[in-house]
């Protein structure tokens, strides 16, 4: 509002940035340019607050626990982020993860397939599930919400059918499948290899999105699909590749899930699809596509983990933890709407 009155010199019709902004407008512009600042600040503040509330919060054992809890959702959120960046959504990610974990574990347990081929089989299954989503969305032109709502049920049913609703115990599997749950120690903190995989995955995906043409095309397709098509981007292919890549990422989550619960359970990860969306949204990625970052989703997953853990340590009932996460989501989306209204 201050911009119209304050332009001292006329910059000409095609020119010039406006000067003199109100402090609030400055914050809006900052968040607009750097979407991850918001979640980073929230995470830091919540860590400080919870550390003050409970002595146990910053102890190595507790930090290790938070990281373990976040690893599964954090990796799922990486796949979810690239889909949401294209203005899509994936409700089936948890189901793909569970189906993949069951296939890897059961085939290995029943046929004695060694770890490496079992993992590769898992990646194949995950990618294929993602491809099915992508095909339905690009070829049949169905909305991603409906497609993945459907495949959520299909994949979950396949998982129950193939597993015969039985859990496969860790002792029946090759040790490679359980490796993600193993730990090493840094400065007294036990860290699982699963959390390391999550961090590396976030780094790789962030690099790819920022530095490759494919990354630009993912953002452009989510921003304005028709404009991207006219610019010569094959938006159908971009979408297909995004859903397939997300499927492969979910296979990684499946591996981490097996390590985390030291078994493969057909009932695991039922709500992880919504948790991954929560992490993405709190991480500052816009549900309308074209805006956001992978790092934000990691921060979002950590914020949820820290909130739940911190409130639990402070003796707050689970129902209030859930309520707090709910409020966070609404605050994050309102903030996104406000940031989107940024004026030039």
């Amino acid at each position: 509002m201050s911009t119209t009155l304050s332009s001292k010199q006329d910059p000409g019709p095609l020119g010039g940035d406006h000067v003199d902004r109100s402090p609030l407008s400055r914050i809006q512009h900052l968040l607009h340019a750097q979407a991850t600042i918001g979640p980073a600040v929230v995470l830091l503040v919540s860590i400080v607050v919870f550390a003050l509330m409970s002595d146990r919060f910053l102890q190595p054992g507790n930090i290790s626990l938070i990281l373990q809890q976040v690893a599964v959702v954090g990796t799922l959120a990486v796949g979810q982020t690239i889909i949401i960046l294209t203005a899509g959504i994936d409700l089936s990610c948890g189901a793909i993860m569970v189906l993949t974990s069951i296939v890897m574990a059961k085939v290995a347990a029943e046929t004695g397939l060694p770890g490496v081929p079992a993992l590769l089989l898992g990646f194949l299954v995950g990618t294929a599930c993602g491809l099915i989503n992508g095909m339905l969305i690009t070829r049949l032109k169905l909305p991603p919400f409906i497609v993945t709502l459907g495949t959520l049920n299909v994949f979950f049913a396949l998982n129950l059918w193939y597993s015969e609703s039985a859990t496969i115990r860790g002792t029946e599997m090759p040790s490679l499948l359980l490796w993600t749950g193993e730990t090493f120690t840094i400065g007294g903190t036990r860290i699982t290899y699963g959390s390391i995989i999550m961090v590396v995955l976030v780094g790789v995906m962030a690099f790819v999105l920022k530095n490759t043409a494919w990354g630009r095309h993912v953002y452009a397709t989510g921003d304005d699909a028709e404009a991207s098509r006219l610019s010569g981007i094959r938006t159908g292919r971009v979408l297909l590749s995004v859903y397939a890549t997300a499927g492969a990422v979910y296979a990684l989550s499946a591996w981490i899930l097996i390590g985390r619960i030291a078994s493969a359970s057909p009932q695991a990860g039922q709500l992880e699809n919504l948790d991954s969306i929560t992490a993405v949204v709190i991480g500052g990625t816009s549900l309308f596509g074209g805006r956001g970052a992978i790092i934000g989703s990691l921060l979002g997953a950590l914020i949820v983990g820290v909130f739940r853990n911190g409130l639990a340590l402070a003796g707050v009932d689970v129902l209030w933890q859930t309520l707090a996460v709910g409020v966070l989501i609404i605050v994050a989306v309102s903030l996104d709407q406000w940031i989107r209204k940024v004026k030039p």
Partner: protein
């Protein structure tokens, strides 16, 4: 007689029972600005879409420098050197100016970083974007790393025009470039159109705005009922006569142009 850079003969496009193009011709001469005007439904858009590869005509031929070409996608037309500034601009608001300029034809880094890690040459693209904007006299855009959504309507149009001018080697097509702009912004964009011609690139300008058309066009192609009704010289035909021909109130004068 000079060979037209871009020539269309007898283009036909039907959508079900509706005939959008009923054997339309078009000739674009080297170094000229050819305005295409016509009433709603006269087939302007279909004609332009056929030339830019966005639709495939049912009949007729398109020739580039006298050689027949056929475009099945916008990418084909682009590869042939025909760049189009669409009315919707076809820019991605959340990406920066440089990314938009190179959207769909990004440059990779040299060496292993580009071939194996597929890294983009961000600095190179920014420098080139800077050069292109400067070359068109759009000095006032400070930073090619700035997001397009922070730009005004005229600045966005300038980015889209700069992209077309940067990559168009044969023809630049502009669809209603001033439609959504204010008076001063329109003025600046028309100057851009003239600068593109000064670079030696012929321009096809589609517009509803008669004063704009008469100001910049070398020749005016009047489209009516899916056909080329006439091509007139803006220096000899008045604005009201052009409108009369366009609406069918008047027959065109004996074959001008």
């Amino acid at each position: 007689m000079t060979t037209p850079v871009l020539q269309a003969r007898g283009l036909v496009k039907r959508y079900g029972k509706v005939t959008a193009l009923a054997g339309s011709d078009l000739e674009l001469l080297p170094g000229e600005i050819l305005a295409v005007i016509g009433d709603n439904g006269a087939g302007k858009s279909s004609l332009i879409k056929a030339l830019s590869g966005a639709v495939v005509p049912d009949e007729g031929e398109i020739m580039l420098d006298g050689a027949p070409v056929s475009f099945s996608t916008p990418i084909d037309a682009r590869n042939a050197g025909i760049e189009t500034v669409h009315q919707t601009l076809a820019v991605s608001p959340s990406l920066d100016i440089a990314s938009n300029l190179f959207l769909g034809r990004e440059r990779r880094r040299k060496g292993v970083l580009g071939t194996v890690f597929r890294m983009l040459d961000r600095n190179g693209m920014r420098d080139e974007a800077r050069r292109q904007l400067d070359a068109l006299g759009i000095m006032t855009i400070q930073n090619p790393g700035q997001a397009v959504e922070t730009l005004s309507g005229g600045q966005r149009q300038a980015v889209a025009v700069a992209r077309a001018a940067a990559f168009g080697s044969r023809v630049v097509i502009m669809d209603e470039p001033t439609a959504a702009l204010g008076v001063r912004e329109s003025r600046a964009v028309l100057d851009l159109v003239l600068q593109v011609r000064e670079r030696g690139l012929p321009v096809i300008l589609i517009s509803h705005n008669m004063p704009h058309v008469f100001e910049v066009a070398d020749r005016i192609h009047i489209q009516r009922l899916g056909r080329r009704k006439a091509v007139v010289d803006p220096k000899t035909v008045s604005m009201s006569d052009a409108v009369a021909i366009m609406t069918g109130a008047m027959e065109p004068p004996e074959q001008a142009a």
